[in-house]
C-alpha cells in the first residue's frame, strides 16, 4: 500500500464527533467571525456596549466604524467612491481606510468576503441548497464580469457625483439594516438568494459583487495563502467541488506557484479540511517555498526507500 492511500483510510475511518467538527472548523469559525462582528456593532448601538464612558465597543457599521473609540476603520472601496464624488474626505476616514486596506493586503483581500461580509451567509446558504437539490445551470457568465461592474461603479460615481455602489449595495443594506433597523433590504438579499439558488451558481459573490472584485485586486500580496503540495495531490477534484471560486484551483497554476495565487480566493477554508491527502493547507507565504521544497525532499526520500526495498 502506498503512503497516500493509508492516510486516506486513516481519515475516513475516524468519523468521531471531534474529527467531524475539525472538518467543519473553518466554516464554524467563519460564522462566529461574521456573526460576532455584527453582534459587536449591534450591541454597541442597541445595548450601549462600551469599554469606558461614552466609548462604544464598536460603533458604526462595515462602511465605517470606530473600535474602542480609538481605531478608525473605513471600507476602502466606499472611501474611494466618496473621494471620486469630489468630496474631500476627513482625515479620520482616510486613516481608517488605510488601516483596513493594510489589514487585507496582508491577510488576503477576500478574507473580508468569507469571514466578515454578512451577504456571504446568504450566498453560502443558497450554494449549499443548490448542490443539495442538484439544480442544473441555466446560464453562464464570465467571472471577470465583476471587474467590469467594479469599473462601472467607479465611472458612474464620477458621472453622478454619488458613491454608485454604496447607494445600491445589498452588502450595505444587509449590515445597516441588521444593525440599525429593518427595512426592505431583505428583499435584495432574497433576490440574491434566489438568483444564486436557481439561476447562476455563486452568482452574486462570484460574478457581480464589485466589492469582492475590489478585494480580489488587492488580495494578491496577501501573506496568508493556501499552500499546495503537489507531491501528495492525487487530482481527485474534491477541492474544486466545494470551492466557490473553483477557477483559483487550476492544477497547472497550482503546480507552478506552489500555492493558490489568485486574489479571487477568499481563504474560506473549505478546501483544506476536505482534501483527503492534506495537500492544501493554510500557510504563511514567505515559508511556502521552503515547505514545498521539504515536501518534495520527503517524497523523494520515500521514493528512494521504496525502490531500495
Amino acid at each position: 500500500m502506498s503512503a497516500p492511500e493509508t492516510r486516506r483510510h486513516a481519515t475516513q475511518d475516524n468519523h468521531s464527533i471531534p474529527t467531524g467538527l475539525m472538518a467543519w472548523r473553518y466554516l464554524i469559525l467563519r460564522r462566529i467571525s461574521q456573526a460576532g462582528i455584527l453582534l459587536m456593532f449591534f450591541g454597541s448601538f442597541h445595548w450601549a456596549w462600551h469599554v469606558a464612558k461614552d466609548t462604544p465597543l464598536l460603533s458604526g457599521n462595515l462602511s465605517a466604524s470606530k473600535f474602542i473609540g480609538l481605531i478608525p476603520l473605513t471600507d476602502p472601496f466606499a472611501a474611494l467612491q466618496i473621494f471620486l464624488t469630489g468630496h474631500v474626505l476627513a482625515q479620520e476616514s482616510v486613516i481608517g481606510a488605510a488601516i483596513v486596506l493594510g489589514f487585507y493586503l496582508l491577510l488576503g483581500g477576500r478574507v473580508f468576503c468569507s469571514w466578515v461580509c454578512p451577504v456571504n451567509m446568504v450566498t453560502d446558504g443558497a450554494g449549499w441548497l443548490r448542490s443539495r437539490l442538484e439544480i442544473q445551470p441555466i446560464m453562464h457568465l464570465p467571472r471577470s464580469l465583476r471587474y467590469f461592474v467594479l469599473a462601472a461603479s467607479l465611472i458612474i460615481t464620477v458621472i453622478s457625483g454619488l458613491a454608485a455602489f454604496e447607494w445600491v449595495s445589498p452588502v450595505g443594506m444587509a449590515h445597516r439594516e441588521i444593525i440599525f433597523g429593518l427595512g426592505m433590504g431583505f428583499t435584495a438579499l432574497l433576490a440574491i438568494f434566489l438568483f444564486d439558488l436557481l439561476i447562476l451558481k455563486n452568482g452574486w459573490c462570484g460574478h457581480f459583487c464589485p466589492l469582492g472584485a475590489f478585494y480580489s485586486l488587492i488580495g494578491r500580496t496577501a501573506l496568508l495563502r493556501v499552500r499546495f503540495d503537489k507531491t501528495t495531490c492525487t487530482s481527485c477534484g474534491e477541492c474544486a467541488r466545494v470551492c466557490p471560486e473553483p477557477q483559483v484551483l487550476n492544477l497547472k497554476k497550482l503546480e507552478e506557484r506552489g500555492y493558490v495565487f489568485s486574489g479571487e480566493c477568499s481563504n474560506c477554508g473549505r478546501c483544506t479540511p476536505i482534501c483527503p491527502e492534506g495537500s492544501l493547507k493554510f500557510d504563511f507565504k514567505p515559508l511556502i517555498r521552503t515547505h514545498n521544497a521539504q515536501a518534495l525532499a520527503h517524497a523523494d526520500a520515500i521514493d528512494v526507500q521504496r525502490r531500495t526495498k
Binding site: 458604526g60 458612474i156 426592505m184
Partner: protein, 271 residues
C-alpha cells in the same frame, strides 16, 4: 482570400465589431439604469432633517458613508438610518422632530463621530447649527388664537432669540395676545418646539430651509439697512452728512420753493 465573407467582408473583423457593439450596449443600458436608480434614491423625499452640521443636501448625499456612527453617538438616540425602501435617501441619518428632537448637546458628539466630514467639523457651536427652520401655522397656533400657551417659546433652547413673543392688543377684551414669532437668523431647527406643541397636529414644525424660505433677490437694495450718502440725507435726525455734500444738511429747513436737500448733490457734479 479565404477570410473574405460573401459580401467581401472580413468575418473576424465583423465579429469583433459586433462584440464591441454588444459590450457597449450592455454597459450603456446597465450604466443608465444604475445612474437612474442612484438619482431616484438620492432625490427621494426632500424633507429629511439632517443632524447638525450636515453639508447642503447634494454634498451631504455624496459625502455620507452611511456608517451610522452619528446615530450611535447621539445621546437621545434620535437619529435613524434610512432603510431600503424608505421615503428618504437610503442609508442616511435623519430625525423626526415631533417624536425625537435634537437636544442640542454642547459638545455635538454626532459631528465628532462623523468620519467623512459629511457632518462638517466646522460646526463648533451648536447654536450655529441649521438643521431646519421652525414654521408656525398661525391659523392653528393656540397663542395666535389668543390663548395663553407659548409653550414653544418657553421650551426653545434659544428662547428670546429663535422664538420671540410679540404682544398685541386683542381688541375684544383687555387681555393681550402673545404671538410667538420664529427668527430664522437664530433658529437651529432642533425641533424641541415641534415636540412640545400641545395641538393635536403640531402647529409649529421644522422644515428644511429650502422648502420654506424665500429669497428677495440681490437686486433689491434695502437702503435703510446700510449707510450711503443718499440714505444718510433722508434719515430723519441723522448726524451731519459727509463732507462731500456740504449743501445737503439733513434736518435743515427746506426753503419754500427750493429743492429737497438730498437731491442737490446729484446736480452738483457738473453732469
Amino acid at each position: 482570400m479565404s477570410e473574405q465573407g460573401p459580401g467581401g467582408l472580413n468575418p473576424n473583423r465583423r465579429d469583433f465589431l459586433v462584440k464591441m457593439a454588444q459590450g457597449a450596449a450592455i454597459a450603456g443600458t446597465g450604466g443608465l439604469l444604475w445612474d437612474h436608480l442612484l438619482h431616484q434614491e438620492a432625490r427621494a423625499a426632500p424633507y429629511a432633517l439632517r443632524p447638525p452640521g450636515a453639508l447642503p443636501e447634494n454634498d451631504f448625499n455624496a459625502a455620507c458613508i452611511k456608517c451610522g456612527q452619528c446615530a450611535v453617538s447621539c445621546p437621545p438616540v434620535i437619529l435613524k438610518m434610512e432603510p431600503a425602501g424608505g421615503d428618504l435617501p437610503i442609508g442616511t441619518p435623519s430625525f423626526v422632530a415631533r417624536t425625537g428632537p435634537c437636544i442640542m448637546c454642547p459638545d455635538i458628539p454626532c459631528v465628532k463621530a462623523c468620519p467623512t466630514g459629511a457632518l462638517s467639523p466646522k460646526l463648533t457651536k451648536i447654536e450655529n447649527a441649521r438643521m431646519g427652520l421652525a414654521v408656525i401655522d398661525i391659523e392653528n397656533c393656540l397663542s395666535w388664537k389668543g390663548l395663553r400657551c407659548e409653550i414653544c417659546h418657553r421650551d426653545c433652547p434659544l428662547k428670546g432669540k429663535a422664538i420671540t413673543l410679540q404682544m398685541e392688543d386683542r381688541g375684544l377684551s383687555r387681555h393681550t395676545v402673545f404671538k410667538p414669532i420664529v427668527n430664522s437668523d437664530s433658529c437651529t431647527g432642533c425641533g424641541i418646539c415641534e415636540k412640545a406643541c400641545p395641538t393635536q397636529i403640531s402647529a409649529i414644525r421644522i422644515l428644511p430651509h429650502h422648502l420654506v424660505q424665500g429669497k428677495i433677490g440681490d437686486h433689491y437694495r434695502l437702503g435703510w439697512t446700510f449707510d450711503t450718502q443718499i440714505t444718510q440725507d433722508f434719515k430723519p435726525g441723522a448726524g451731519a452728512p459727509p463732507a462731500a455734500a456740504p449743501t445737503a444738511a439733513p434736518g435743515s429747513v427746506v426753503p419754500p420753493g427750493g429743492k429737497a436737500p438730498g437731491m442737490d448733490y446729484l446736480n452738483s457734479g457738473g453732469l
